[in-house]
Amino acid sequence: MEICRDKDALQISDLDPFLAELLRQIPLSANPDGASAAEARLFSQPSAEKEICAEWKSYVEPELRRLFQTASETVTDDLAQLNGNEKSLSNCTLHIPIEHADAWLNTLNQARLVIATKYRFSDEELNDHNRSPIGSRRDLGLFQINFYGFLQEFILREIASG
């Protein structure tokens, strides 16, 4: 896999089927439905004061849901470029318009938080970036967190460099 910046887009090329599938999994992984702990993490309490929390749930949380949903939809639309024949992936390049960078950062973050909460990874596990091989669904979850983190780092670097 190669990742680079080309003018107004970020490009991910030379994708193997495994990494392409991990990319396709981003919006699904970001969905906290059915995982109450993940839901609680994405929509965390803003205060210890009950009155503030009640107002927040009524007025702010719906806005946050819309924001996260919109970001996820933007990523889903970009990932449509990867639909099709697995054999053609090696010639396929994923173009991410630079104006979609914030949506990608947000959705990658949602996905990382949901996966981390779902598998209850410890701080030690989350800091072990060289863990291998992938022998279980849980290991795959940790790999996803690291892979998505790598993509976030790249996007952040490109944003900072203008």
């Binding site: 929509f43 965390s44 205060s47 503030i52 946050l64 973050n109 976030q152």
Partner: protein, 109 residues
């Protein structure tokens, strides 16, 4: 916040403005005076570079100051990013939540 209204003028009345009538008080003055602080809590998932960028964006802090707060969150478990009136503090916490950071507003005692 306090809401006030002036009563209607009667016909032939000589007064121009009646004394305002306090209708409803939803938050006491004392409460309004209490300063609030915006606190960001440590989260092992969010990347350090990401947290720094969010602090720069939300508070307009220069990179060095944003990094200092990020490291304080990382090492001390929390950092006070801002303090002042409640409405502004709520706005900042909302912005931080929209970037998926663990943030709360707290009354300063």
């Amino acid at each position: 916040m306090s809401a006030v209204s002036a009563g209607p003028l009667e016909k032939g009345s000589t007064s121009t403005v009646e004394a305002p009538v306090r209708e409803k008080e939803t938050r006491s003055e004392e409460e309004l005076d209490v300063p609030w602080q915006v606190v960001v809590h440590n989260d092992p998932v969010n990347l350090m570079t990401y947290v720094t960028m969010v602090f720069q964006r939300v508070f307009g802090y220069p990179r060095e100051k944003a990094e200092r707060h990020m490291l304080e969150v990382h090492h001390q478990g929390r950092s006070i990013l801002w303090s002042g009136v409640r409405e502004r503090a709520e706005f900042y916490v909302q912005q931080l939540h929209s970037h998926l950071l663990l943030a709360t507003l707290e009354k300063i005692n």
